[in-house]
Amino acid sequence: MILALAAQAAGAEGPAVPAHPARVVSINLCTDQLAMLLAAPGQLVSVTWLAGDPAFSAMADHAGAYLANGGRAEEVFALHPDLVLADIWSPPDTVSMLTRLGIPVVQFPPGESMADIRANIIRMGEVLGTADRAAAMAAAFDARLAGLVRLAPPPGARPRAATWAANAYASGPRSLTGAILDAAGFANVAGELGIEYGGTLPLEALVWAQPDIVITAESAPGASRAEDVLRHPALAGLRVEAGLADADWTCGTPFVLDAVARLAAFRAKPGP
């Protein structure tokens, strides 16, 4: 039974996934955070160096307790893991190299919706052998999400919001950011304009659409031309709030609900 499950999880030809892995290495920022939340003490050996960067990781404070890796096959192999956690978009050459070296790799889909996040929590619990802890976390996630959604206005009465990041990038309703916006009780202007997942929303189209609020990311360290557009004078007539930190919207983890709560506060509070 356990063997059959393990074989199924590893796919047709990969090395078998142990039922209770003892040395787990994560090579993706998002699996890093889920694993730090759900691993048993001592079970998780290493996470990516990004997990320690507060600009991208919601758990930067916790990452110091683990070895940092750069996601390369050679350094991961040197850690002698019995399980590697990766994203389905992790570099295929790295994943196939690890598999050839006999290390089982479990790949998680990116969480693009609240349902995806829930499913990833449950699956991480199954993979790490901490299903009880995962079930409790999923239940808490459900309860907090339901509480936030209850406060959101009905579809017709929602303020219209656009998320707008460097390079004039707007997130559509089928992205994680879109899901955060929806749970916070906003209508998504990018969706109105036909952007499903995400894409360039020209400054002119944004101003023309006259959203009630434009939610931008907090500025990244160092200067860049890509972020110039967030300070363009044509935005002067709109309400612009720097409300989304990369750490909140990069990964599908329970921390997205912090972002939902923060955005919902913008809805409650009138603009400046």
Binding site: P202, L203, P221, S224
Partner: protein
């Protein structure tokens, strides 16, 4: 063609394209609505879009196009070589390197003029390197090879600066600096680029008499009282100011200075002085047209300006190389 007629036609074309640049955009405002919003203002987002987004874009297209066309004509006249062009000989890439250093070191955030000044310094180094490598009356092969070397070095250093930046978006901006774009520029960019482009452009336009004399050869020009050293200094500073400021706000837009003088050379009777004015107008028309085309072809993709100018310009360049080689044989 008579000079006033040619210049009149070109000016009319530039005016039409300038209006088109104001009227085309993702917000379907329409020609009449656009002009009304620009001039009369009013409520709603339309005046804001016209005055803060489309007007700076059209003004930059006009200034940068005119500057690049003029730079190409002046360089070709001075070097007596039809293949000389700020992009091809590496001046644009050097200017981009200067601009990149200004932005990613934080200098331009502390002091807005650092952007054009650094880019100007980069362009200056590029021109000086080319003149030192290829000499004043450059042979085609030496000129092109020197240009390849300077471009490659500047592009590599630009990529290095962007890769070393702590900003996660910096590395993705390599394309902008190599290909150029006028998307989402503001009046601030017009304000920091225009003085340099105008000053440099005036310096280049005053070279006309000297360039005309130079067609007779350096000795003949000297006997007519033309000081070659003073001309070279004005050319170098003019090109650096124009290309530096243009690249600082719009990235490296190639081939404009190559194609435009070539198209207009026969219509100006092969007189460099006339060609300068005609190329300024022609360059403005080409860049405005290319920028309008980026908005018509793929408004949501941020198509790069330099992609269009290179698609037209590169085949032209190959044609010119073949022609030059045939004449040399």
């Amino acid at each position: 063609m008579r000079q006033p007629l040619l210049l009149g036609l070109l000016a009319g074309l530039v005016a039409a394209l300038f209006v088109a640049s104001l009227a085309v955009g993702p917000a379907g405002i329409g020609l009449r609505g656009s002009l009304a919003a620009l001039v009369a203002g009013g409520d709603g987002p339309a005046p804001l879009i016209l005055r803060e987004i489309r007007l700076p874009r059209a003004l930059l297209g006009l200034l940068i196009g005119a500057g690049l066309g003029l730079s190409g004509a002046a360089l070709q006249g001075f070097l007596r070589n039809p293949l000389a062009e700020p992009g091809l000989i590496g001046v644009s890439s050097s200017a981009a390197l200067g601009a990149v250093v200004a932005i990613y070191s934080g200098a331009s955030a502390a002091f807005a003029l650092a952007l054009p000044v650094f880019a100007l310094a980069g362009a200056l180094l590029g021109v000086l390197a080319i003149l030192a490598l290829a000499g004043a009356a450059a042979r085609t092969l030496t000129l092109i090879l020197a240009g390849v070397a300077v471009s490659a070095l500047a592009a590599a250093l630009t990529s290095l600066v962007l890769n070393l930046s702590s900003n996660p978006y910096a590395a993705g901006e390599i394309v902008f600096w190599m290909m150029g774009s006028l998307a989402d520029r503001s009046m601030l960019h017009v304000a920091i680029a225009a003085p340099f482009i105008l000053a440099g452009g005036i310096a280049l336009l005053t070279l006309g008499r000297g360039l005309d004399a130079l067609t007779l050869g350096e000795d003949a020009a000297a006997s007519l009282g033309i000081g070659l050293a003073a001309m070279r200094l004005r050319l170098v500073l003019g090109i650096a100011a124009v290309v530096g400021a243009a690249t600082a706000v719009a990235g490296a837009v190639g081939f404009v200075g190559l194609v435009v003088p070539h198209l207009l050379r026969s219509a100006t009777g092969a007189r460099p002085a006339r060609l300068l004015w005609a190329s300024a107008l022609g360059g403005a028309a080409v860049v405005l047209a290319a920028d309008v085309a980026t908005r018509v072809i793929a408004p949501e993709r941020d198509l790069k300006l330099g992609v269009l100018t290179a698609l037209v310009g590169a085949p032209f360049f190959l044609h010119l190389i073949r022609k030059t080689a045939r004449e040399a044989a």
